[in-house]
Symmetry: C2
Subunit: 249 residues, 2 copies
């Protein structure tokens, strides 16, 4: 998909700067946005918000108005079933985008809850659309980012159906690891922000099964786990555990 170039006479002086380029740079560069486009996007994200641990960024059913770039912190997205139990649909870390769940409609389809004190940049979607009228490539790129994130999750979930508990957990850990290293964090040593129950909900397992699977991986010296602190000792064997599920990239 070839890139469109920006018009030379582009006037962006009317856009107020405030949040600088946020964490959007890492997000946008691989997709092919140039510096100027990132700058515009960053400037768009004019509104900064702090969300305390346990706080909600958006609710299921609420009007879709903004996308959110996570500056710092960690979120889960979840839906509330009729019976009151909640199903975790995803985890979202610093540098990633939130609000995509509403992209095909007018409402958010899930809640977004902070799992630690977090900070986000709000990107008003109306403004994004307005500017896209001048710079069509912007929306194009944005859609590309979005479908990439959606497809990434989709790919993982698809395969869970036929996986055993240990394979699911290995897949989950490697997915986290890969995303962390992309953001400049350690690949082998990280902190789980979510509980065993939340992991279980996401993976379609019970919390006890998650715990047992962690213990088993530790017994085999593949990982070391101390409460929420994970260390991957043998990433090769961890990848083996994933099974022959291709296409997790």
């Amino acid at each position: 998909m070839p890139l469109q170039t920006l018009p030379d006479d582009l006037d962006i002086s009317h856009i107020r700067s405030s949040c600088a380029t946020c964490s959007l740079r890492e997000l946008c560069l691989p997709v092919g946005l140039n510096e100027e486009e990132i700058q515009i996007l960053g400037n768009l994200a004019s509104h900064k918000r702090k969300i305390p641990r346990g706080g909600y960024l958006h609710h299921a059913g609420s009007n879709f108005q903004s996308l959110f770039a996570i500056r710092s912190g960690f979120f889960k997205t979840c839906i509330l079933e009729q019976d009151g139990r909640q199903q975790v649909t995803g985890f979202h870390m610093t540098g990633e985008l939130l609000g995509l769940d509403a992209i095909s409609g007018e409402m958010h389809t899930c809640d977004a809850v902070a799992l630690e004190d977090s900070e986000v940049c709000e990107i008003p979607f109306a403004k994004l659309e307005e500017i896209s009228r001048t710079i069509p490539s912007l929306m194009h790129h944005f859609h590309k980012i979005m479908s990439r994130e959606i497809v990434r999750d989709h790919g993982v979930m698809l395969l869970l159906g036929s996986m055993k508990a240990e394979e699911r957990l290995a897949t989950f850990l490697l997915n986290l690891s890969r995303r962390l290293v992309m953001r400049g964090y350690s690949e082998y040593n990280f902190n789980l922000r979510m509980t065993r129950e939340e992991i279980g909900s996401y993976l379609g397992l019970k919390l006890e099964t998650v715990s047992r699977a962690f213990s088993k991986l530790q017994d085999e010296n593949i990982i070391t786990i101390d409460n929420k602190q994970v260390q991957i000792n043998d990433i090769g064997r961890l990848k083996m555990k994933m099974g022959n599920s291709a296409c997790l990239r």
Copy 2:
């Protein structure tokens, strides 16, 4: 998300007409494309292709060049694992769009195989992008269609993880039914184009379990199933079988 309007002086005389509006109309109207835009899209789909039963529309790893609107027929998409077994990732019927798997990259991530003699309209993506330069709303709408289809699948798959066999099958049947009725087919009476094994692969079940679940639903008089022919006798109770999984719309 408000619509953009088409420029009044739009010149589309250079676009050759051939495939008329295909089956795209039903696809596009709900998303908000106007008649003129649909016309353009339809004209874009210049190349018509017949795919015989068992034939491939695209392969995993092949270059992404076109989207395909299914004029008639039925497809499965699947990925080949390292061990040679295949994982079905989706089913696609008349009036739906194929090729979305490649939307975030340059390559197709799965194979698309016809489950019966089929006919598709090819929509060259390069042309789509070219025209989008004149009519930015077009690409916007298209992305919206795409994310809607992806999100729809995603939502279903997410919940499979925690479902029992019978719930999965009920969900599957109701999903098929809903899509068929949208295309003007019977809601309660349809033909499965795929085998028990393919259903199982898609749902994360073994073919025997699929067969048993069908039998059980028949014993309870909820459906009648004769080989590939399905009749839904009691859609209310079938929906009950889905369990309390919200958000399947």
